[in-house]
């Protein structure tokens, strides 16, 4: 009886617990709108950069990353690293190196500038796959389609591109230049918006690819008779 009466008293009292005022709907909607605009804000200026400037900024960023990786790699390479006699047996890749190149032969310290066969093969395969992506993107743009799966495809290729840039494959200046251009193009494809602006961005990327003759250079770098990769 006492419990029931007390519970009833509690139920009355509990209604005043943190009693909310009237919902400030307008203020909250204004905040939501501002927060959403803020989220989208960083994308807009980059997209509106003049194309040449965008490429310049990208190249500068790539160089900065490249220099940092280079210094890091030099600092980590032991001077007395054991030499490997043949390309068939290779030392185990360090755990700190990116995993995607662990299956290929590691270049021993002090070898000539030309990358090993394994690196050349990996690079050619990568170029073939990238060519397939860029061709798909161009065909999509011409037909007015927008395949959403190209983003993930580009992200995958972007990772490999960055690892190749950090590998002996990039010792050849022409190869390095091509890989740098690919990195920029792939980064832009990977960041394509899923809004109505997607088609415009794809057109811009295709323009950049054409201006820098990326597809032509890719095809020139792929030797005749190489295996064509569909994806």
């Amino acid at each position: 009886m006492i419990d029931d009466q007390f519970d009833e008293q509690l139920r009355d009292a509990v209604r005043d617990y943190h009693r909310p005022p009237e919902t400030p709907r307008d203020a909250i909607w204004a905040r939501i709108e501002a927060a959403r605009q803020e989220q989208q804000a960083p994308v807009v200026p980059i997209r509106r950069l003049p194309r040449r400037l965008a490429w310049g900024v990208g190249i500068a960023a790539t160089l900065a990353i490249g220099v940092a990786i280079g210094r890091y790699s030099v600092a980590r390479t032991p001077v007395s690293e054991p030499q490997v006699a043949s390309g068939t047996t290779a030392p185990v890749e360090s755990a700190t190196r990116p995993t995607a190149v662990t299956n290929s032969t590691r270049e021993p310290a002090g070898t000539p500038a030309a990358p090993s066969l394994a690196y050349r093969m990996a690079t050619i395969e990568h170029f073939t796959r990238t060519e397939a992506l860029l061709t798909t993107l161009r065909a999509d743009a011409q037909s007015g389609r927008a395949d959403p799966s190209v983003d993930a495809w580009a992200r995958d290729l972007l990772g490999t591109t960055r690892m190749l840039l950090d590998s002996p494959a990039a010792r050849d200046p022409q190869m390095a230049a091509l890989l740098n251009d690919l990195e920029l193009v792939l980064a832009q494809i990977a960041a394509l918006p899923r809004t109505h602006e997607r088609t415009t961005d794809i057109d811009l990327i295709n323009d950049a690819v054409r201006q820098h003759a990326v597809l032509t250079r890719l095809r020139m770098a792929i030797p005749a008779g190489s295996i064509r990769v569909g994806t």
Partner: protein, 155 residues
Amino acid sequence: MDRVYRLAYRLTGEDALAQDCTQETFVRAFNGLRDFRGDSQLSTWLHRIAVSVTLNVLRKVTRIRERETELEDVTMMEGGIRTADPDLKARLARAIDALPEGYRTVFVMHDVEGYTHEEIGAALGVQDGTSKAQLSRARAKLREALADFAGEWMS
């Protein structure tokens, strides 16, 4: 928006925090709308986000205020609970604040804001039975915390 704001206010007790939580809930909901599969009602999904956001905010705020609370507790112990605040509503508010997070959330949603156990279960990602059990334990703890007041009130 009203229900989300009201719930956030009941749980946080502050307009600024409640507005923060409501804003964050809707921003997250808009961002994740594409991933909403329609397995549950939109309101249920929104409340799940709201409860998650609000509890996260509360945890952060609680950590910041822990020192202040400790000081308050010392003062209360020195002055004595019975004489410190004889008002049931104030005592009740303090007792609810002191409930464990899970009990408090269920108690506020059910007894204060009138959500059903089904709605609470969906928002918290627990079974209806768990919600009922937590409510029962929350009420028991409140009765226990206010036992001396109940005696005074009845006498």
